[in-house]
């Protein structure tokens, strides 16, 4: 009897020791997994290109003080090169942020806005009309990286990635990041290790405006009198409607803008369709291609290529945009508000560089500030 009791006690002690051993192992395993995840996550950040053409604008967006962005601009490279946030700030007191990426389709704009509206409640969203002209249902590898890698919230990034890739199995590599970018170890610089990114020297107060610093003149035809139209790609239409519905639901005014560019002669066919869809939702729009004379844009001097305004063009265009926005929307003048110091700082940094941009003409378009 006594022997049996001893055996039972020994068994209980062994079980207790085993439970303790497994619990200790469990704790160590969890710690190791967390450290590994953090390490790989940081490695993913290091190897990710600190590109201003999408990734950095999203990363830097998270650094804006909550509820400070009054005008959130979403769209393609035409917008980040054309909407000069510094002019909007200095000349109109509008606190705008360009949350744009290269060739951003509407499905990326939708998911980006979904993420962006978590921390900011802008008084206006400006949406680039250009994606209405895109024929593709999916994006190329480089574009998927630029468009999604800056998004911090994992479920949103997964949704944005799944919307971008043709085969859902390809999404895993993008979601994990490292499989797509690890070969960048060949080109790493010290800047890649710094958190947050320095936005290619623009500083952490940058508001997403990317200068296109050259002159490439083009002549163009005025086809604005033609009312013909072409159907928009079904996926683009699906997502632009989603954007309209989302902003309506959140009660945030949205305006579509057609960015002026010499390469407009086919775009207007799609824009006409997009305006009809916008009309269904009561969304306003301005096609600035029809206002190029009022803006004063010289297509031989104010463009960097077929699609993008250069610095000079951006100054002229944004002056007109600011005027239109002020007239149409109730946008407060934030100048002098200490909460908006970063806009002031960004504009000051940019002004220092302004005379050095080869495409600018400070005398013809004096900043006056």
């Amino acid at each position: 009897m006594e022997g049996r009791e001893t055996a039972l006690q020994e068994q209980a002690a062994q079980q207790k020791a085993r439970r303790r051993k497994l619990a200790g192992f469990g704790v160590r395993a969890v710690c190791f997994t967390v450290i590994t995840a953090l390490l790989l996550s940081y490695a993913g950040y290091v190897f990710t290109s600190k590109s201003d053409y999408g990734i950095c604008s999203m990363m830097t967006y998270y650094r804006q003080k909550p509820d400070t962005v009054d005008v959130l601009v979403a769209g393609t490279s035409m917008v980040y090169a054309g909407v000069n946030t510094n002019i909007l700030w200095k000349e109109y007191g509008i606190a705008a942020y360009n949350l744009c990426t290269v060739e951003e389709p509407f499905w990326i704009a939708y998911h980006t806005l979904e993420e962006a509206l978590k921390t900011q409640h802008p008084k206006l969203i400006l949406l680039d009309a250009k994606p209405a002209t895109y024929p593709a249902d999916y994006q190329k590898r480089g574009r998927v990286i630029l468009n999604t890698f800056g998004i911090r919230d994992l479920p949103v990034r997964i949704r944005a990635t799944l919307a971008s890739v043709e085969n859902p199995r390809d999404a895993l590599g993008y979601v994990l990041k490292l499989p797509e970018v690890h070969s960048a170890y060949k080109t790493l610089t010290w800047n890649d290790f710094i958190l947050p990114p320095d936005n290619e020297g623009r500083g952490s107060t940058w508001k997403g405006f990317n200068e296109a610093d050259k002159i490439d003149g083009h002549r163009t035809f005025d086809l604005s009198f033609i009312g013909a139209r072409l159907p928009i790609n079904a996926r683009e239409e699906e997502y632009v409607r989603k954007i309209f519905e989302m902003t309506k639901e959140k009660g945030i005014p949205l305006m579509l803008i057609g960015m002026p560019c010499p390469n407009y002669f086919q775009d207007y066919l799609y824009y006409n369709t997009l305006w009809s869809i916008a009309d269904e939702y009561g969304i306003p729009y301005i096609n600035y291609n029809l206002k190029k004379y009022q803006i004063g844009l010289d297509y031989l001097k104010d463009f960097a290529d077929w699609n993008h305004m250069n610095v000079n063009g951006s100054v002229l265009f944004t002056r007109r945009l600011g005027k239109d926005l002020k007239e149409a929307f109730d946008l407060p003048d934030r100048r002098g508000d200490p909460a908006y110091d970063s806009w002031e700082e960004c504009a000051a940094t940019w002004k220092e560089q302004y005379p050095n941009f080869i495409s600018s003409d400070p005398e013809a378009n004096p900043l006056g500030w």
Binding site: K21, L22, F25, R28, A29, F32, I35, T36, L39, L40, A43, F47, R141, R169, L172, G173, L176, L178, P179, E180, H182, S183, Y185, K186
Partner: protein, 482 residues
């Protein structure tokens, strides 16, 4: 599905979690489900063929237990091996495009071995068809083996293993080590093989170094994959047989084949070589040869002949082309000659007072390396004319001018440094293992503040320098094609 894919790693991790959550007695069901998922994701044709083989094995085993007939065994083996031969070789001769099931050779050999073992009375046949299926379909070993016997694997698969932290740590380390060898070094060396195969006038040193690097690549590719397979199995408490034991430290070709693809060699020895040498014909041949060459040498003749046949078959198993035939015949001839001349070598060694170790060790190593290298020319080239042309080219044009340009054209300096450093690490670990140091075990037992940084560094190195992701085909394991 490649064992390097993220899908495989997720499947393996999921299977492990479910395995340890289930009660001990039914843990094999987790392995069964994981294997079923793997084979189905690899294609329905693979799943169908594997299931057919498993059914033949299961039913055949039960039949053989009841009727221990050589004819029945021959019929079952013909069905089993015939299907494999048809799928592997019919497309070569007919030009037809047949889909090869994943792991065809490995599960076919394993099931054939099981049938022979049941016939020999070495193994009790499995009555549960699902358990029999798991034996041939156990998913980690489907891609590239090892080829296990029922005694080695069956019991381990079906007996539930308790969660032992030591197994998890040690298995995880083995997985990482395998990934390091395969992804960082072997896959980088693809470029060196391509450089030799590009054609044109190549200097001899480039051909030779390309061939040496191919041999290293093949070893790291295959053994790396095997470490992943064994590591995962170890995490589930299953110890798979070792398939590579540092073959480049072999002092003879025979030893090399005892260290290289060990389970394949063991399979051929057990199910072909021994039956051939101990058959009536083999014994008769031995007696006849003894009368001509004397007792000692004569006895080796059947073994030499059987070795030649076995290696020819191993060659043809690798691929149905002339290079594979030459590869097999070459190794068979080397092994047969060394068997036949065994007595003469012993006599010579005694007469010349050659030491067994000492200065003879590097000589033997070098001799073995040279013999192995000759075979490699037939392993990585598409046809005999290319192989012979490169073999001849090795002895010509040892001009080192333009060395830097040629090396730079193959890989960048950074890539060479990574490859070189990786090879050095593998060499050091292999030397330690060769000296009976348990590197993996020692690391697993070390205090965590030493072990963790080493493991984290290894993970980071694989994640950074591994060849994977965009533009890379992870299915390209050299041995998966067999």
């Amino acid at each position: 599905m490649s064992i390097l894919s993220i899908e495989f790693l997720l499947l393996a991790a999921g299977t492990l979690i479910v395995y340890y959550l289930l009660p001990l007695k039914i843990r094999w069901i987790a392995l069964l489900c994981g294997s079923a998922a793997f084979i189905c994701l690899s294609g329905w044709h693979s799943a169908a063929h594997l299931t057919a083989v498993a059914l033949v094995m299961w039913g055949g085993g039960l039949l053989l237990q009841k009727h221990r007939s050589r004819l029945l065994l021959s019929g079952l083996l013909a069905l089993d091996l015939g299907a494999m031969a048809f799928l592997k070789y019919y497309p070569v001769f007919s030009g037809a495009d047949l889909l090869l099931p994943v792991g065809l050779s490995y599960f076919t050999f394993q099931s054939a071995g099981y049938l022979v073992d049941v016939y020999r009375g070495k193994t009790e046949p499995q009555r549960n068809p699902l358990k029999a299926w798991l034996f041939v379909g156990y998913f980690p070993q489907l891609s590239q083996g090892p080829i296990s016997t029922w005694k080695e694997l069956g019991g381990q698969l079906l007996t539930g293993h308790r969660l032992e932290p030591e197994n998890i740590v040690s298995g995880f380390q083995l997985v990482l080590w395998g990934l390091f060898k395969k992804m960082i070094i072997a896959d980088r060396l693809v470029a060196t093989t391509a450089a030799v195969l590009q054609g044109g006038e190549l200097p001899g040193w480039l051909i030779l170094s390309g061939t040496i690097l191919y041999a290293i690549r093949l070893y790291l590719d295959f053994s790396g994959g095997m470490d992943v397979v064994r590591g995962f199995s170890r995490m589930a408490g299953i110890e798979l047989p070792e398939n590579f034991r540092r073959p480049f430290f072999s002092k003879s070709v025979a030893e090399y084949w005892r260290r290289w693809h060990i389970t394949l060699g063991a399979w051929f020895r057990s199910y072909l070589l021994y039956p051939l040498t101990t058959s009536h014909a083999g014994i008769a041949l031995g007696k006849a040869a003894s009368r001509i060459f004397g007792k000692k040498t004569g006895r080796t003749v059947p073994t030499a002949l059987a070795t030649l046949i076995v290696f020819l078959l191993i060659g043809i198993w690798h691929s149905a082309n002339w290079n594979a035939v030459i590869f097999g015949a070459y190794f068979g001839a080397v092994m047969a000659v060394s068997t036949l001349l065994e007595q003469f070598w012993k006599f010579l060694q005694k007469r010349l007072k050659l030491p067994k170790g000492g200065w003879m060790t590097p000589v033997r190593l070098l001799r073995t390396w040279l013999l192995i290298l000759i075979a490699q020319y037939f392993a990585f080239t598409p046809d005999p004319s290319t192989a012979f042309s490169l073999l001849g080219g090795t002895f010509r044009n040892w001009d080192f001018s333009g060395f830097a340009e040629r090396m730079g054209a193959i890989m960048t300096g950074q890539e060479w440094i990574i490859t070189g450093a990786g090879c050095m690490i593998v060499l050091i670990v292999d030397i330690l293992c060769e000296r009976k140091k348990d590197v993996c075990g020692t690391l697993a037992r070390t205090h965590f503040w030493i072990r963790w940084p080493v493991l984290l560094l290894l993970i980071l190195a694989i994640a950074t320098f591994g060849i994977y992701g965009a533009g890379y085909d992870p299915a390209a394991f050299l041995y998966t094609q067999f």
